[in-house]
Subunit: 357 residues, 3 copies
C-alpha cells in the first residue's frame, strides 16, 4: 500500500490555515508528537504539550500563532490555525485510507427486487433481501446482511458482519461498525400461566442523518411504533438500545451503555461509558451522565448526574461497604438533631451551674 | 410488500374474544393508540390509557367489557376480552411477517454428513458442518455458522451471523438472534509460572425448549460438564453466560447481564438490566434482582435483591461519595450507642443537680 | 465422531506423573468427578473433593500422592502428580477435538496479493483482503473478514464471524473467538458548532504473542498511534478496549470489562467481570480490581481495589440508599469530633460538680 503525500501548503489550505516555513514540504502521515518522524505532521493543542512538541521529530506542526511563537526556535514548518484540534480532525480525513471501489462483488447475493445505486459498493458475501434500497456512494462491506425491506440512504458506511433487519431505515451518511445488529427483535413477552409469551415485534428502527453506531451494538426494533435514533447521534461499541427508545439529535453515548425500553432521551446529551437507563422514563436535553451511573428516574433539568461509589483499596472498601449496609438502620439525619439537642442541654446545664456559683 | 388484512370477527376468534360493532371491518395493522389509523386495531390495557384511547384514530380497540363501556361514546368497533394485553400479544403473531421459504439456498455450504429436514430453511452463505442436525420447520438465516456436531431441534429460528459451536444442542422452538455466539470457549486458564495456561473446554451447551436468546450474546461451553439453559428461559441482548452456568426454567434476564462460571440460577427468576453475578454461587427460585446490581453471594430465599446507589446530581453525589469513603473509618453503629450513653449522663447530671437545689 | 482413547500410562507420561493401577486402562474422556463413568479420567484437586471422589464412577483419578493414600480403598487407578489441576489443564489439550484440516475452502475469497501459508486453514466464506499475511498453521474459521493490510502470525486460531480490520497485526499463537471485532474505528469526535465531527482513526491495533480474546469483543484501532495488547494477555467475552489503550503483558480481564481511551494498564493485572476503567489514566502492574468496580483515577500501587455497594434485600437497600443520599449533607467526620467534645464537656461538668459537693 503506497501512501499518498501532501504538500504543507496544500494541507494548510484544507484547514484554512497559514503555512509557515517550507511550503512544498512533502508530508506522508498525520502522527502523534511522540511518534512523528520528519515525513509527518503533528498537532499541538495546548501549552502543556510544549515540551513534547519541542522534542518532537515531526516535519511540521499544526499550532496556534501563540504556540508557534514559543516553538519557532526548534521548529521551522507550521500550519497556523485558530483551533489545532479541529484542524487535526479535518486532516484525519485527508490521510484516511478510503474505500474507493464501486460496484457489486460477484459473490454477493442481491435479491432481484433490491434497488442498488450504481455508485454503491457491495462487498463479498453480502446478502441483500427483497425490496431493499441502497443509496448513492454507500459502501457495504463483506458478509453484511441487509434483510428484506431495509432502506439505506446515501454515503453510508456499513462495516462487515452487520445485521440490518426489522425493515429498518437508515438516512444519509450513517456509519454502522462491524458486527452490530440494527432492527433485531425487541425483548417483549407477556407473562401468562407461568410462561413467557413472545410478543412479535412489529415496529422498526429509524436512523437519522449522520448517525454513527459502533461495533457489537444492538438496536432493537419497536413493538408497535419505531425505535428512533435522531440526526447526528454518536454511539460507541457494545451499546444496547431497547425497543421504542428515542435518542435525541446529537446525543453521544460511550461504550457499553444500555437504555431500556420506551425511554426518551433528549438532544445533546452525553452519556459516559457503561451508563444504564431504566425503561419508560424521559431525559431532558443537555443532560450529562457520568460513567457507570444508573439512571433510575426521569431527569427534567439539564445538568450532570451520577451514581455509584468511588474506588477504594479493597480493604477500606469492605469497611465502607459494611457501613453502607448499616446505614439502612441508622437514623443519620436524627444524629445531627440529637447532637444539637445534647449540646443545648449541656450549655443550659453549664449556665445554670455558673449562675449558682 | 403487500400486507394482509383481517376481519374484526376473525381477529376476535383468534383471541377468544367477542367482536362488537362492524364484524367485517378490515384491519391491516396492529398499532399503538397514538399512531393507529382507521385501518388499524389497537389495545387498551388500563384506565390510565382511556384518554389516549378516546383520542385514538384506531378502527377498532381490544378492551375489557369495563373499558368498552367507558369508550363506546367515541368508538364503535371492539374486541372484548378478559386480558387485552395477552390478546395483543397473541395478535402480534397474526400480523408478524413470517419467513415462509423452505429449502436450502444454493450459496449455503452443507457438509454431506449433516441431516437437514426438508421443511427447514437454510439461508445464503450459511455454513453447516459435519454431523449436524437441523429439525423440521427450523429457519436459519444468512451467514450463520453451525459448527461440527451441533444439533438443532424443530421450529427453531436462528438469525443471521449466529455462531453455534462447541457441539451445542438446541431443543425445539428455540430462538437465537443475530450475531450471538453459543458454545464459544469458556474462559478457563491455569496460572503457572507467571503465565496463563489455557484449559481447552470439553463440555458443551444444552439449550432447552422455547428458549429465547437475544443478539450479541455469548453463552460459553462448559469446561468438562455442560452449560445448561433450561426450558422457557428468555435472555435479552449482550448477555454473557459463562462456562458451566445453569439457568433454571422460565428465568428472564434483561440486556447486558453477566453470569460468571459455574453459578446455578433457579427457576422463574427475573434479572433486570446489567445485573452481574459472581461465579460458583447458587440463586434460589423466584429471585428478582434490580438493575445493575452485583450479586456477590448465594441467595437462598426468594425475594428481591439490590445493590448500587441512587442517582444524584453530580455535585451532590460527589459529597455523598466522599462521605462513603469516610464511612470506612466512622464507627456508625457506635454513634447511636454513644449518643444514648451521653443522653443518659446528661439526664443523670440534671437530676442530681435538681436534687441539690 | 469417534473419540480417541488413551492408555493410563500414556496420559501419565504427558503430565510427567506416575501411573498407578492398570497401566493399559483405556480412557475416552476427561470428565468431572460427578459425571465421570468407567471410561473416563477425572481429577481431584483438594481434600474438600474427597467425598465426591470416593463416590465418583471415574475409571481413573489424577491426584497427589497424599490424596491417593486417602482414596486407594475405593479406587484402583491413578495418575499421581504434584499439581492435579495443572495436569488436568494439560490433558484438556489431549482430549480436545482439534481442527486438522489445512488449505483454503473453495468458497473463500482471497485477494491475489494476500500471502497465505500452505499450512494454514481458511474456512468457508472467509474474506481476505489486499496485502494480508496469514502465518503457518493458523486456522481461520468460516465467515471471518480479514481486511486489507491485516497480518496474522503463526498457529493462531480465529473463530467464525471475526472482523479483523484497521490494518491490525496479530503475533503468534493468538486466539480470537467468534464475532469479535479487532481494529474497528475508535470513538473520536471533535465537537464543533453543536455537531460531532468525526476524527478518522489512523492508528492500528497490535496484538502480541499468546493473546486470547473472547467472543463479541471490540478492540478499537488508535487515533494516531496504535492500541496495544501485549504478550500473554487473556480477555473474556463482551469486552471493550478503546482506542490507544495499552494492556500490559499477562493481564487478565473477565467478561464485560471496558477500558476507555488512552488508558495504560500494567502487567499481570487481574480485572474481574464488568470492571470499567476511565480514559487517560495509568494502572500499575499487579493490580487486582474486583467485579463491577469503576476505576476513576490512576492506580500507582499494586494491590486490590473496589467500588460499589454490597447486595442487600431490596427493602433494606432502599433505606440504605436514601441514607447514602443524605450523606451529601451530613458532616460525618464532624460527628465523631462533636461526640468527643460533648463527652469532654460532660466529664468536666461532672468533675466540677463533684468538687463542689
Amino acid at each position: 500500500m503506497i501512501s499518498k503525500q501532501y504538500r504543507l501548503d496544500e494541507l494548510a489550505k484544507q484547514v484554512q490555515g497559514e503555512p509557515v516555513g517550507q511550503s512544498d514540504l512533502k508530508l506522508k502521515r498525520l502522527a502523534s508528537l511522540e511518534n512523528a518522524s520528519s515525513d509527518d505532521i503533528a498537532f499541538v493543542n495546548a501549552d502543556k504539550f510544549l515540551d513534547l512538541a519541542r522534542s518532537s521529530k515531526a516535519g511540521a506542526l499544526i499550532v496556534t500563532e501563540q504556540l508557534r511563537a514559543q516553538l519557532q526556535d526548534v521548529h521551522q514548518n507550521f500550519i497556523v490555525v485558530a483551533n489545532p484540534y479541529l484542524a487535526f480532525a479535518i486532516l484525519t480525513h485527508t490521510f484516511e485510507r478510503k474505500h474507493e471501489q464501486r460496484g457489486i462483488e460477484s459473490s454477493a447475493y442481491i435479491h432481484p427486487s433490491a434497488m442498488i445505486s450504481d455508485s454503491a459498493y457491495i462487498g463479498h458475501f453480502v446478502c441483500i433481501g427483497e425490496n431493499c434500497v441502497v443509496g448513492d456512494d454507500t459502501v457495504i462491506l463483506s458478509h453484511t446482511k441487509v434483510d428484506d425491506g431495509v432502506e439505506i440512504g446515501k454515503q453510508c458506511f456499513i462495516d462487515s458482519h452487520v445485521t440490518l433487519t426489522g425493515e429498518c431505515t437508515l438516512a444519509d451518511r450513517v456509519r454502522i461498525h462491524a458486527n452490530t445488529v440494527i432492527g433485531g427483535e425487541g425483548f417483549g413477552f407477556a407473562p401468562y400461566q407461568g410462561k413467557w409469551n413472545r410478543i412479535a415485534q412489529l415496529g422498526s428502527v429509524r436512523i437519522g442523518n449522520d448517525v454513527r453506531i459502533g461495533s457489537n451494538c444492538s438496536v432493537d426494533r419497536g413493538a408497535l411504533d419505531d425505535t428512533v435514533i435522531e440526526d447526528g447521534v454518536i454511539i460507541d461499541n457494545l451499546v444496547q438500545i431497547a425497543h421504542n427508545v428515542k435518542v435525541g439529535a446529537n446525543t453521544a453515548m460511550a461504550a457499553k451503555c444500555g437504555v431500556a425500553g420506551s425511554t426518551v432521551i433528549g438532544k445533546n446529551c452525553v452519556f459516559a461509558g457503561a451508563v444504564g437507563v431504566v425503561g419508560h422514563i424521559n431525559i431532558a436535553d443537555n443532560v450529562t451522565v457520568t460513567g457507570m451511573s444508573m439512571v433510575t428516574k426521569s431527569i427534567s433539568e439539564a445538568g450532570s448526574y451520577s451514581s455509584g461509589t468511588p474506588m477504594l483499596e479493597t480493604a477500606q472498601w469492605k469497611r465502607a461497604a459494611i457501613r453502607f449496609k448499616q446505614l439502612a438502620d441508622v437514623p443519620l439525619t436524627q444524629f445531627a438533631k440529637k447532637l444539637d439537642h445534647i449540646q443545648a442541654q449541656i450549655e443550659s446545664l453549664e449556665s445554670t451551674f455558673k449562675l449558682r456559683k
